[in-house]
Symmetry: C2
Subunit: 348 residues, 2 copies
């Protein structure tokens, strides 16, 4: 069992903070290029798209896709269109999530939210335009010869699956109706929510609003796990998978890297829940709205210590999954090990 | 010049009403199948998606895609996933367009709009989920051997281009700010709209809100043409192009079929404007909101007669474009000729 040691050695040679900064810059340069290339649109629309794309963020999704592609022997540039598409998808989801009919947030990453600047109608359309552009840009990856049409289409289909009803949007739906489940007023908050739907729906079971029909239990734990695995986890998972699928990863290696992705995706959200309690609004660049809104979170269910322990366990699993990879460039795995550590220890 | 005659003969042998009904049924059966296949989503979300997908409509977009693919020698079934994706995209755009922050419509096709049944938040998410599923489903077309990954990716990229900022969403953006341009109160209505955006944007030129920077004139005619070519036209065009590109159409034939698509797309919208004035809300299954909202329409600019004449001219051009096609199964062109006629004469 020398692999973990080898991995630890690799980590020492990588200045991960510098790596993250350099990669984020690279992504931002390419995001700008993609926006500049949009023809035939009113300027207010491309400005609204650009405003939220350039509003900062860690760019972990595209960075994960590039790092995974490199682990499987491709260059970062080989997957740049798809990597940028991942960030655009994340950005559209933030714009729509901040809208008055959703979280009604005024601040995102320390700046006014999209609808505060451009109006609700344009924020809706900017989100729609980004979500559509996501797939136009992703498809361009097929023109890169080292990747090709087949791997691109395969990766695109998987990515759309994770981003839609079966993944991110499914998680967001559950999150809407789970509001208040972290408080004593759960029943009355949900009753208020359900008043907004037609009478025919109002007497449906909890599962109808919160969980897929296939999930057996409707406990708060089951709801929380579904939301976290999907609302945030699905896109983190898709980022890693996109890099792997574009690079042509298959079989056991694909399974291992998916395991890694699953674990770090959940850690990312657990740490988000922890930070919502422990960090200031200034550090987060947004209000601590989850706690204020009585949302169901890891911390509200398992406490701070329990959440931290769970994150620790998941990181160990993620690193073990990396250890198990076979047909990879092992020297290129350092950023993936480091990313797992970063997800656990980040303070913003 | 025997071709137009041949075409006219073909038209006589086709019962187009029955054809439309049969094809619409086929599309609806497949749409249901695609929705049933969505795993891992709360039922309220897939119900909300399904509600608007099954709310009727003529299904002209998928029917156009199938008919075009058949003209270029493929079978309707060869392009079914992409055809269904076109209808899903159209449906998401209606759901979002009806939202309170957009047109705020209560009725669509004679039924309560999505947000009236499921609430604003779920309607937003159902639209997002549909728009994402569009590309997952479209990508599946690559698995059909007669089409393959390369043609699918090519068609998908073009389709996303037409549906996004450079096409449909660009047109919708302009439409938001063009509200009132059909009335005497244009200036004050626009001033109200612009109050909703941040002060920095409020003193931008008309073009910033209404037209791409590349368009030279900012006359009402230029705005109307931009909106019509994009808000509705782009997706009609994309429907025809999708059928053609999936079937591998190239060169002059691709240009001719695009010309056809451009013409009928514009006719479709001109007739929409005419019906908004001449048909009852009951016939339309929605309120005559364009006229009531003082929207810029073909009728408000060119009058009823002028609009009808323009539609007539465009149909002649569309049919001439079909006459010019070379590498096609001419006997399969009948539905495309008939569709042009239908677009001009439809009463709903």
């Amino acid at each position: 069992m020398t692999k973990p040691v080898r991995a630890a050695q690799k980590k020492q040679t990588l200045d991960f903070d510098a790596y993250l900064k350099e990669r984020a810059k690279l992504v931002e340069k390419n995001l700008s290029k993609f926006i500049d290339k949009i023809p035939n649109a009113p300027k207010i629309l491309t400005d609204a798209m650009d405003y939220s794309l350039q509003a900062g963020g860690k760019r972990v999704r595209p960075i994960l896709a590039m790092a995974t592609a490199e682990a499987f022997g491709k260059k970062a540039a080989d997957v740049m269109p798809a990597a940028c598409a991942l960030e655009m998808l994340h950005t559209y989801s933030l714009i729509h999530d901040d809208l008055p009919c959703m979280d009604n947030d005024d601040l995102r990453r320390g700046k006014p939210t999209n609808h505060k600047v451009f109006g609700e109608d344009l924020a809706l359309l900017a989100g729609d335009a980004l979500l559509t552009y996501v797939f136009e840009v992703f498809a361009q990856n097929g023109k890169i010869k080292t990747i090709g049409a087949e791997n691109t289409l395969n990766a695109l289909q998987n990515f759309a699956h994770r981003a839609g009803a079966s993944g991110m949007v499914g998680g967001q739906t559950s999150d809407v109706y789970a509001e208040g489940m972290g408080t004593q007023d759960a029943a009355s908050i949900r009753a208020e929510k359900i008043k907004k739907v037609s009478k025919k729906l109002a007497d449906k079971s909890l599962r109808y609003f919160l969980l897929p029909p296939t999930v057996q239990e409707t406990t708060p734990e089951a709801v929380l796990l579904y939301i976290h695995a999907n609302k945030t986890g699905a896109l983190i998972r898709a980022s890693v998978e996109t890099g792997a699928l574009l690079a042509g990863a298959k079989g056991a290696d694909l399974k291992h890297i998916q395991k890694y992705a699953d674990c770090i995706g959940l850690v990312f959200q657990i740490v988000d829940d922890i930070l919502d309690v422990t960090a200031s609004a200034k550090q987060l660049g947004k209000s601590n709205s989850d706690t204020q809104n009585g949302k169901l979170t890891f911390v509200s269910l398992f406490g701070l210590e329990g959440s931290r322990k769970h994150a620790q366990l998941l990181i160990a699993k993620a690193q073990k999954a990396l250890d198990s990879l076979k047909n990879v460039k092992r020297k290129n795995l350092a950023p993936l090990y480091a990313m797992a550590e970063f997800f656990k220890t980040r303070t913003y």
